[in-house]
């Protein structure tokens, strides 16, 4: 059986997201041309939280989109499993926008590579930044995050699970050790 260890609770996640929101505003000097894109599925909930916080801090509106990267994966034709596809919904142009890409866990970096390829198909952003709640290491591509909630050195046999949903009280980050 796998052992479960909680490494971040609801309040901890919320504090991290607050700090990330301030950092995004600081680095981009405000919200001009800023758009937030959440990666399906976990990243979408986090992107919504960050958007809410930024809107509250700056008292303005920031556009948000959802991105499903399935069609851009590099293992589709080699893997025998087909992931269930989510919806992509980016109802605005990305030309000359500052895009903040949001995901729950940064691991090999392959998801982010796929997401960047997908974004470029929607236009030519001025820049792309990456915000993640957890960076667990083990990169296979030269990719790093601009905003990190928590660095969590992990073993390859461990599984890092971020559960964030509409029910905020149940938010948590857990490590499952597959023994």
């Amino acid at each position: 059986m796998s052992k479960k260890r909680v490494v971040m609770d609801s309040a901890g996640i919320d504090r991290s997201l607050t700090r990330i929101s301030y950092e995004i505003l600081e680095k981009n000097k405000g919200v001009e041309d800023l758009v937030i894109i959440g990666i399906q599925k976990g990243g979408v909930f986090l992107a919504e939280r960050i958007r809410e916080k930024i809107c509250r801090i700056e008292d303005t509106k920031v556009p948000m989109g959802k991105l499903d990267i399935t069609l851009y994966r590099d293992d589709l034709l080699t893997s025998s499993k087909k992931p269930r596809m989510g919806k992509t919904d980016i109802p605005f142009s990305l030309d000359n926008k500052k895009v903040v890409l949001v995901d729950d866990v940064l691991f090999t970096g392959r998801t982010i590579r796929a997401a960047m390829d997908a974004l470029i198909d929607f236009g030519r952003p001025k820049l792309i930044q990456l915000a993640v709640l957890i960076d667990r290491g083990h990169r296979e591509l030269p990719i790093r995050a601009d905003f990190v909630g928590k660095n969590l050195p992990s073993s390859l046999w461990e599984e890092v699970n971020v559960s964030v949903s509409t029910d905020k009280a149940k938010d948590e980050v857990v490590i499952l050790e597959n023994a």
Binding site: L71, S80, F122
Partner: protein, 306 residues
């Protein structure tokens, strides 16, 4: 989730979960066709061969667009311009095409069962794009997708299919699919166009169109194959239009929010009057749009993972 099969030969052997998986996947693909850059890199390096032994605009174009939007390479072979006219047999043609190593073969053939035979001969995935009067699975899938899109469900709806049921592969595939998904299917048409024992497929049979479409949530009109007129299944096109054609007066017999479908190509003024075909209930062009998404979903689900 993966479609655990090599080929898509008919709706008859698809399970409800498989149909749902295909429709869910297709829904996600709708968005790709609305982008400014209508292309994703998913099937780079995959070759799709469209082998058409019968004329077709919609289906062939739809498969080609679907493949291209997924970055697959497509090759179209229509028999009129191929070695078939020199007398090459079907299996020889297939074996030669197989030797060029495509990944998916899309076949339309006038003989029922041709795709099934092909699937046993070649190692590639085969998609049936219509075989004789047997099945047309991708049409039924796009029809079910359109119904689900407009009505948010399929189960419990009354679907009336009207026309030449006996010669219609569209009708057969839809009957298999819709009954599996829990719809109540009614078929209507002259008795000369109604196959014997059709009721064994779990459908209600009517010979008067008014009875067939009463209280329908969906009316699906089938093309009258005018080339069959000399087979004396009906006296004249005009009589057929009068007795079985769908006009505005008849539409009023169906539910208030009925949707009207037609697989195309239409004979305006025969099985469907122009004001109905272009009217507010018509979803005929939505069917075509959804067709591309359904075929993208199938190409995607069938490829890779060997």
């Amino acid at each position: 989730m993966k479609l655990a099969r090599k080929d898509i030969l008919g709706i008859r052997d698809l399970a409800v979960e498989e149909i749902n998986l295909i429709l869910d996947t297709a829904e996600s693909f709708i968005e790709v066709s609305t982008r400014e850059i209508k292309k994703v890199p998913t099937l780079r390096g995959v070759t799709v061969m469209n082998l058409f032994y019968e004329p077709s605009t919609r289906t062939r174009t739809s498969f080609e667009i679907a493949a291209k939007r997924l970055s697959a390479d497509t090759i179209n072979i229509s028999t009129a311009t191929s070695s078939v006219v020199k007398g090459e047999t079907f299996i020889d043609t297939a074996k030669n095409l197989e030797a060029m190593n495509p990944d998916i073969i899309v076949l339309r053939h006038s003989a029922a069962g041709a795709p099934h035979m092909l699937s046993r001969v070649v190692r590639q995935s085969v998609i049936n794009a219509g075989d004789g009067a047997h099945e047309h699975p991708t049409q039924a899938l796009l029809d079910m997708m359109t119904i689900r899109e407009k009505k948010k469900r399929i189960a419990g709806l009354k679907v009336s299919i009207v026309g030449d049921i006996a010669h219609s592969r569209v009708a057969r595939s839809n009957i298999y699919g819709l009954t599996k998904m829990g719809a109540k299917v009614t078929v209507g048409g002259p008795s000369t166009m109604m196959p014997r024992f059709i009721d064994r497929l779990g459908v209600e049979v009517h010979h008067h169109v008014d009875d067939a479409i009463r209280d329908a949530d969906i009316i699906m009109m089938l093309r009258i194959q005018t080339e069959r007129q000399d087979m004396s299944v009906f006296p004249s096109l005009r009589e057929y239009a009068n007795l079985f054609g769908l006009n505005r007066k008849r539409v009023a017999l169906a539910k208030e929010d009925v949707i009207i479908m037609h697989p195309g190509p239409m004979n305006r003024g025969v099985e469907i009057s122009p004001d109905v075909a272009d009217g507010p209930y018509s979803v005929i062009l939505d069917q075509v749009t959804n067709g591309v998404a359904v075929r993208m979903a199938l190409l995607y689900l069938l490829s890779g993972g060997n």
